[in-house]
């Protein structure tokens, strides 16, 4: 199934705020997700990711601001907005009265879709649920229930799919299978919005990421640019024998830590390695072991969340 759409912005969030009592869950959030993007929404627990998703999905009413999905206002034109959106909720929720197939047929019917069994079978096949199609939801394991949640979000073939931590508690095999399927949908033109605590997933899958902190967007950037801009190299050096004195790198680099004779030095660029090696040799130190490490999205995320990097 491939999609073609004239709307270049899949999700448009304008100045959205939401308070629960005195707690600001989301504060003046502006966010645009382009059609066809694989977008990551990152942030620590309680940052407001789920509240923002709930507002986009119409599960929660914003105090102010407006949200559009594929150009449809989620409050004024809620029926069109909801037809364009599939949401995989974070919680493992299910109806204990029904089987997997009944659940998916009902979900299709809610969207006014009759005779949807071919698509349901395709989803079940892609999510490795074929042999559980007639099993009651109660009898499924946690991972299988999560797969059914994904299936429920896809039954009406929405152009925009939001996955709120879809791989929490899911084994490696299933995670790979799930991402393969979701990437296939993205390649077919579906817009994917993902929240996850597995930042390596966001790094490898998302074209763009937004980081939320205490209800506010602190960063929205192309993942490749972000990593290129923010990535710093770390030089790990172990010295041979007893060092006569502690080595101190000059102004071009920053010593992060010294543990059992192992130096961790932060570089602003790989070219500085040569300067450090030269200094070490000239100071009479002999190198036992040396390796260069690169920061990943997780390091960048932690730096931004702890305020060590400017956004």
């Amino acid at each position: 199934m491939s999609l073609s759409t004239n709307t270049s912005v899949a999700i448009n969030v304008r100045q959205v705020s939401k308070k629960f009592g005195r707690i600001k869950a989301v504060e003046s959030v502006d966010l645009q997700v382009k059609s066809g993007e694989f977008f990551g929404l990152l942030g620590p627990n309680g940052a407001g990711k789920t509240t923002l998703i709930n507002i986009i999905a119409g599960l929660c009413l914003a105090d102010c601001g407006r949200v559009e999905v594929m150009g449809h206002d989620v409050v004024k034109d809620y029926q069109s907005a909801r037809r364009a959106l599939g949401v995989v909720p974070q919680e493992l929720v299910f109806d204990p009265f029904f089987t997997v197939r009944e659940t998916l047929r009902f979900q299709s019917g809610y969207f006014g879709i009759k005779h949807n069994d071919d698509w349901i079978d395709e989803i079940l096949d892609n999510l490795n649920l074929v042999d559980k199609a007639d099993a009651n939801m109660r009898s499924l394991s946690g991972g299988m229930k999560r797969r059914v949640l994904v299936a429920q979000a896809l039954v009406h073939r929405p152009p925009v799919i939001i996955l709120d931590e879809p791989t929490a508690g899911v084994d490696v095999d299933l995670r790979r299978g799930l991402w393969g399927f979701i990437q296939k949908l993205n390649n077919q033109g579906h817009t994917i919005v993902l929240t996850t605590h597995y930042l390596e997933e966001a790094e490898s899958l998302c074209n763009r990421v937004a980081m939320l902190k205490a209800g506010e967007i602190v960063l929205v950037e192309d993942t490749t640019n972000l990593l290129r801009r923010e990535k710093e190299s770390l030089l790990r050096v172990r010295l041979k024998g007893e060092a006569p004195y502690e080595f101190k790198p000059r102004g071009y680099a920053r010593l992060v830590s010294v543990t059992d004779g192992e130096y961790l030095i932060k570089l602003s660029g790989p070219s500085e390695v040569e300067n450090i090696l030269k200094d070490l040799r000239e100071s009479g130190f002999e190198i036992d072991k040396m390796e260069i490490e690169r920061e990943d999205l997780e390091d960048v995320f932690l730096s931004i969340m702890t305020g060590n990097k400017s956004s």
Partner: protein, 253 residues
Amino acid sequence: MSGFRTLFRKEMLRFWKVGFQTLGAPILTSLLYLLIFSHALKGRAEVYPGLGVDYVTFLVPGLAMMSLLQNAFANSSSSLTQSKIMGNIVFLLLTPISHFSFFIAYILAACVRGTLVALGVVLASLFFVELPVNNIALIIFFAVCGAVMLGSLGLIAGVWAEKFDQIAAFQNFVILPMTFLSGVFYSVEKLPAFWKWISHANPFFYLIDGFRRGFFGHSDAEIYISVSVVSLATLSLSCVCLHIIRSGYKLRT
């Protein structure tokens, strides 16, 4: 009305799959009431003097209506509360189903369950009594209004309740006393003035009294008053319920 049929079908299946609990048990309970009260009060309780209606026959429409009201309430309230507590209501709230379709699907399912239980009570009691039918239109009118009224009340309670305990409290402290004090087991004309006044302030009394008139052609209250009170109460509760659903109160928080 996109999705309405599916939601209605799902609500029907939900109670049908546990039919012993949702249909069989209330019919049996009503028959036990019939058995116990008829043996305990036969010959002692006089109803509709001069009409020749014996007490056991008098009991049947009241018990049928009481079962209808309680089960219509139980269906919509338990379904919604369970969906909220289990969290699966999210899959309904994410769909384009309109507020009106949502309301109608739940109410219709409540009507079907309530009516099936009432029908079961009437059919089973035919083994013991001969039940006349004086005005089928009145029987249908009061049965439908009763189911819609209690289905709406069940939805309101389901939206409001955050745990099953609150639904049980609503059922035991509001619905049950109102049904028991509405003339199910007696003619209110025999009551002392105070209790008669209390009964006349209870809309359930008009439901049962009007429903009974459909069978016997006689009622404690004037039929036009019963029709008016029941119509007004049904309409008011339906409007309140629809407004609550549309507002998203406790559903889209």
